[in-house]
């Protein structure tokens, strides 16, 4: 990063550079540079950003779908014996090969380390490339997923232990929604947990009493939507939800669009950042309140984070990365950029492909 000055940040573009973004994603599809090795364990998630990103651009013809399907399916965890599974184990998808070991029956390696976030990304990729999800052995996956739900309704990401927070409630809800089968979770308990995460200021923290945060707020609202606890018109007084305080959430979310530059921040008084255009903007979309976003100002901010050779960065004038690029593309899709596929915001999933 020291040689950032060598990078070319001049001549900000005033338009969305669609072709350069597709080129950037194709490059990432062929191979991620070494700085991503620190995220090796989340390789499925990195792949999801690339493949789902290409889908937003209606550019899936650039990838080998068969190869993608086979690779993703190869990361699924199975019990050693055909239909029996050990109590407490979760049979989802591994994030990468470094958490997956062919079953040598002994010791630490017998613990499978499949992960909720990887499972969500695996299913989302498969769906994106047109794989019929009814072919997945979902009974085993969902039955074992239930063991990850905690007494307070939240989810653990991996059965060997890990931090529990709203991100994994969202993953669980998205998994059930994609598999069209809700036996994998207790929705009432999950709803209680989400309620407990709404802060005094209207936003949601990742866990109860934590500070409101754009990403956590998206996870809360998208989960409620997927689980069927948010009506079609959550803004109208009649539909006013007794699950969460919608007016306060609405006011908190809208206040996150900064008057200084039009971007969204994730927390009060923090700098604006590309990804919150999606996390907070998406929350507003689910509440059907995206009509209150100042779209022109938001677009203007996002373009300052667009890298001239493709991709988006977190802040203006820093290097792009695949995470911020993906959520930048999602934000532009929500802003109805011509040529981009529309999103199902609560799943972060392309709705229906645009005609060729």
């Amino acid at each position: 990063m020291e040689d950032e000055e060598l990078w070319d940040f001049d001549s900000e573009s005033l338009s969305f550079e669609k072709d350069r973004h597709i080129y950037y994603l194709e490059m990432m599809y062929r191979g991620l540079p070494a700085p991503y090795q620190g995220q090796e364990i989340n390789r499925l998630t990195l792949a999801y950003f690339v493949i789902s990103g290409l889908d937003i651009f209606a550019a899936l013809d650039r990838i080998d779908k068969e190869a993608v399907i086979n690779w993703v399916l190869s990361l699924q965890a199975y019990p050693k014996n055909d239909r029996t599974f050990e109590n407490g184990q979760f049979y989802g998808f591994h994030g990468s090969r470094s958490s997956q070991f062919q079953s040598d029956n002994s010791g630490a390696a017998k613990l499978n380390a499949s992960h909720l976030a990887s499972t969500y990304c695996a299913l989302a990729i498969l769906k994106t490339v047109g794989y019929d999800l009814s072919q997945i052995d979902s009974e085993l996956l969902l039955k074992s997923m239930r063991t990850l739900q905690q007494p307070n309704g939240c989810f653990m990401p991996v059965h060997t232990g890990g931090e529990t927070d709203l991100r994994f409630v969202f993953c669980a809800a998205a998994i059930c929604s994609m598999l069209k089968n809700w036996t994998g979770m207790d929705r009432e308990k999950a709803k209680e947990f989400i309620r407990n995460c709404q802060s005094y200021d209207g936003g949601f923290g990742l866990i109860p009493v934590a500070e409101s945060h754009g990403g956590a707020t998206y996870c809360a609202v998208a989960s409620l939507k997927l689980m069927g606890f948010l009506g079609e018109d959550s803004l109208s007084e009649k539909a006013s939800s007794d699950v969460i305080n919608v007016p306060l959430l609405l006011d908190w979310s809208l206040q996150k669009q900064a008057f200084e530059d039009g971007g969204f921040r994730g927390r009060a008084n923090k700098p604006t950042d590309t990804c919150y255009a999606f996390w907070v903007g998406g929350t507003l979309r689910i509440l059907q309140a995206d009509k209150f976003i100042n779209e022109e100002a938001l677009r203007g901010f996002l373009l300052t984070c667009q890298y001239k050779y493709g991709g988006f960065s977190k802040f203006p004038r820093v290097l792009p990365d695949i995470y911020h690029s993906y959520y930048g593309f999602c934000a532009f899709s929500m802003l109805r950029e011509p040529g981009l596929n529309p999103l199902c915001v609560e799943l972060v999933d392309v709705l229906s492909p645009i005609p060729p």
Binding site: L32, N70, Y200
Partner: protein
Amino acid sequence: MKGEEERERIPIKERPEWADVRPVPQDDGPNPVVPIDYTDDFTETMDYFRAVYLADERSPRALHLTKEAILLNSGNYTVWQFRRLILDALNADLHEELQFLDQITRENAKNYQIWYHRRWLAEKLGEHVASKEHEFSREIFCKDAKNYHAWSHRQWVLQALGGWEGELSYCSELIKDDIFNNSAWNQRYFVVSKSPLLGGLEVMRDSEVAYAIEAILTKPENESPWRYLRGLHKNDGKSLANDPRVASVCLDVLTGKTDYIHALNMILDLLCHRHQPSKELKDAVDAVSPDPNLSDVGLAEKVCSILKLVDPMRSNYWEWRKSTVPAQD
């Protein structure tokens, strides 16, 4: 800096203590998707990690190897999990482990696995580490007073292991350093409502309302104390409308004639909850209106019209709020 470390690193295959181990390369299958261009050190370290993991070798050298793997990819929860198994098996000194964590957290303070491991350790070590843990999060906040992981950890330590003494004054200290630090405001709300030493929100409300008002008058454009003030009244519009200090701070801010957007927003909420505005407040609203010819009949509608003009980022929202103002009797 990185280059120096790399020069010092002796490849594992050249270390005599590893001579008996055959590394296990990553099997990426026939058609790997989104491959990562690993550095040689990364590949070698993970190949040896796979070998000890498959052999379930819970030994001092394996413990050291997990450290090397963690330094290369601290998000790898499988490596962390194996490290915990080894620590248990070796009955290792957990205080030493905590020191190792201190060191890597200073360099990489935004990593979920590092903080999860810390919590696992603190849970095992028990109450007597509470003050040490508070000291450590304090150290992290000196560099980044809004570190989300450190705040979650601190809240967990308080609830699980204690150490509440001095927490409210710590919040005051942070807010004094940076009145815009919303994490500190959130912590203050947490302490005021949950501390076993303070008696709860109802008991604290009076003095905390005064604290919030003082902060508002210092920087009326600061969203944090306005939200805090609402929170003290549990976002109950009637309770806010019945506290004369709330309307009064709005009036004071309007009279200052700058940075009054949050004040107008609060007045709107009060009016929607049947607050009867004083003549002074009505006049103060008129006085900040950029357009003297607003045709609104009701004060709430007028406040929305003004907000639409002075807060153009949210003009559609204020227009909508205007359409939802409850009818006056």
